[in-house]
Structures are given as C-alpha cells and as structure tokens.
C-alpha cells in the first residue's frame, strides 16, 4: 500500500512541478493559465488521493469519514478550478487582451 501512496504522491508532485515551470516559462497570459488550470488540478487530485488512501489504511469508520471528506475536496476542486480558469480567460478576452503568436508578438 505504501508503494501506491508513494507513486500517487510522486505523480502529483510531478504535475505540480510541470505546472509551476509552465506558469513561469510560458509566453503570455492565456498560455500561462493553461498549466495553472490543468496541471495544478491534476496534481492536487493525485496528491489528495494519496492522502485519502493513507488515511483509510486502518479500517475504521472515523478514518473512512476523513477519507471521504478529502475525496469531497477532490470533487469540488475538480469542478471549480477549471471553471475559475475559464472565467479568467473569459474576462481576458472581454477586456481585449490579444493572445501571443509566434510572428505577431502580443500578450504580456
């Protein structure tokens, strides 16, 4: 079981690392939101899953309830994080921010 938890945690951290590098290195607002929205959600999902598995290792009702609460956090983050990213992108488009292109430049 420890192997499963370790595997999930390492995978989650890998996604977080990719997300952080992407936020720092991508050229403009929209492309930076892409790792922020996708990779962070995935990293959080995997690492919280690892925590839920860790908590639920000893089989009792209390630890099962704690694991269930962690899984509820996963569900809520899974729904809200992409929606928030969507809303930010939408606001950017409405405010008239041009996306970056290889030839034309633009972006921030």
């Amino acid at each position: 079981m420890d192997i499963v938890i370790g595997f999930l945690l390492v995978c989650g951290l890998l996604f977080f690392t990719g997300g952080s590098i992407g936020i720092l290195r991508f050229p403009d607002f929209y492309s930076r939101l892409h790792p922020a929205g996708k990779l962070d959600t995935m990293g959080l999902l995997l690492s919280l899953l690892a925590m839920a598995v860790y908590v639920m290792m000893d089989f009792s009702i209390a630890s099962f309830l704690t694991g269930l609460k962690i899984l509820l956090i996963v569900v809520i983050v899974f729904v809200t994080s992409p929606t928030a990213t969507h809303a930010i992108v939408d606001a950017g488009v409405r405010a008239g921010l041009k996306p970056w292109t290889k030839e034309g430049g633009g972006g921030v």
Partner: protein, 276 residues
C-alpha cells in the same frame, strides 16, 4: 457639521487613550486575565456547558454579551452601507435595455418610456455588461446548494469543531453572492430582496437578544442560558449548550443577510437595478 464631528471624534480619541492607561501590561503574567480566567475556562468549559470546543463556549456563553454587540456591530455595518450607498427609488436609471428573445433584437428605452413586462418575449439585460456564461452558470448552479449545506454544517457543528455562526453565515452569504456573480443581480434580488435581507438580519440580532431576554424572563441573568432549562426541559448544562446553538443561529442569520445586503449596495453602486 463636519467640525462638530471632528471635535467629537477627537474627544472620543482622548477618552480612549486615557482608558488604555488602565490596561495591564502586554503579556503580564500577573494580570488578572492570565491568573484566573483562562484557567477557569480551560478547566470548566466542558463541565459547565458540555461544549467540547472551548472557543465556542467562551464566545457564545461566557462572553455572550460581547458577541451580542459584535453582531450588532455587523448589523450596523450593513445599515451604514445602506445609508451611504443606496440611491432613492425615484432616481431612475438613464435607460433600460430589453432583449426580444425570439428575434434577439435589443431595445433601449430612455427615461420615462413605457417598459415592457418581463415575460417569455422580453428579457431585461444590463446596459454595460451582459453576464451570460453557460459554463459558469452551470457550475455555480451545481455548487451553490452544496456550499449552502456546508454553511449550515459549519453553524451546526460549531460545538465540536472550528466554526459557528460568524463563519457559517459568511459561507452562506458567499454562496448567494456566487449566485449573484454568475447570474445577474436582478435574478438574485428577485429571490432574496433587499427588504427581506434587511428584515432578516435585524431578526438575527433579535434572536440573539431575545434569547437573553428569555433567560431574564425565566429568572436568570441576561444571556445566562442555564435559566432556560425549565423552558427547554433539559438539565442546566445541556440548556447552556442549546442556548449557544440558538444564539449561533441568530448570528448566522444576521451575518448572512448583512453580507448579501452589503454586496447588493456595493456591486451596483446603490442603484440595485443592475450590477456585477
């Protein structure tokens, strides 16, 4: 008028500074609050009130008087926002925009024009900003009930875990504000009108103070919930726990309604016909 205000605030400032000279030194181990009070709370909170969360017991029971006026302060913050921002009703908007739903034509009706009724044919839209986003609307529609449920849980579970009326009330208010952000302000004011929110937040404060008056009528001191034991039909310790629950509900109601009341006034600059 401004001068009188300045002078009175200055005097109040001097009185407050004079009052601080009577305080004990910061972190003084000999000061009364560090000698008896904290130890008493820690040792007796469970046997006095049967509430495991000492913070809740102190907040709503031992220092109930303080918390009652905190609730009153929140209520007066809502009223202050109302008086500062709210525009009178006759201050009608410059123009109102409607959309004919079948054809998609928008109608701009100047001040004084005849307004169509909102129906299947005509839909009122905002002049500046048309918040129509299916993704956000659907997500908020899924989330808002769960956030409200969680808020009720936080209020009800304040005896055992961090939480209580203030936190739960803010979460509940945030759920309604999320609804208002993802839909339109008008749609929210149709569901919870400004008048209703104002009346309900006054009722929240009234529940708190009324619990105290009930204690008085039952023969105890103001906000001494153990006097309610006869009324509730339980022993005095459980009565204190129930009394905490009652005032927490009052606080939750007041905070929720003040949150959305302030939001209504702030987001629409007091006009409340269209906003964020």
């Amino acid at each position: 008028m401004k001068l009188i205000g300045m002078i009175s605030i200055f005097w109040l400032f001097i009185v407050l500074v004079y009052g601080t000279s009577d305080f004990s030194a910061w972190g003084d181990p000999e000061s009364p609050c560090n000698l008896h009070v904290s130890n008493y709370y820690i040792e007796h909170a469970m046997s006095d009130t049967s509430v495991p969360n000492i913070v809740t017991a102190i907040l709503a029971d031992y220092r109930g008087f303080d918390t009652m006026f905190e609730t009153a302060v929140i209520f007066s913050a809502g009223i202050a926002c109302f008086f500062l921002l709210r525009r009178p009703k006759y201050d009608a908007p410059e123009a109102v925009v409607f959309r004919h739903i079948q054809t998609g034509i928008t109608l701009r009706i100047e001040k004084g024009g005849r307004l169509p009724k909102e129906s299947d044919e005509f839909e009122r839209i905002d002049t500046q900003w048309v918040p129509y986003d299916l993704v956000i609307q659907v997500t908020s529609r899924i989330l808002v009930p769960f956030i409200q449920l969680f808020a009720l849980y936080v209020v009800a579970h304040g005896h055992h875990s961090p939480g209580g009326g203030f936190q739960g009330g803010v979460i509940f208010g945030a759920a309604i504000i999320l609804f208002a952000v993802s839909n339109t302000l008008r749609k929210t004011t149709h569901r919870v009108s400004e008048k209703r929110s104002a009346v309900l937040c006054a009722i929240g404060v009234l529940i708190y103070a009324g619990t105290g008056v009930c204690c008085l009528l039952a023969g105890g001191n103001f906000l001494d919930y153990s006097a309610l034991s006869g009324l509730l039909g339980v022993d005095p310790v459980t009565a204190r726990s129930h009394g905490i629950m009652m005032v927490e509900m009052g606080v939750g109601l007041a905070v929720t309604m003040v949150m959305i009341w302030i939001y209504y006034n702030l987001s629409s600059a007091g006009k409340q016909h269209e906003g964020l």
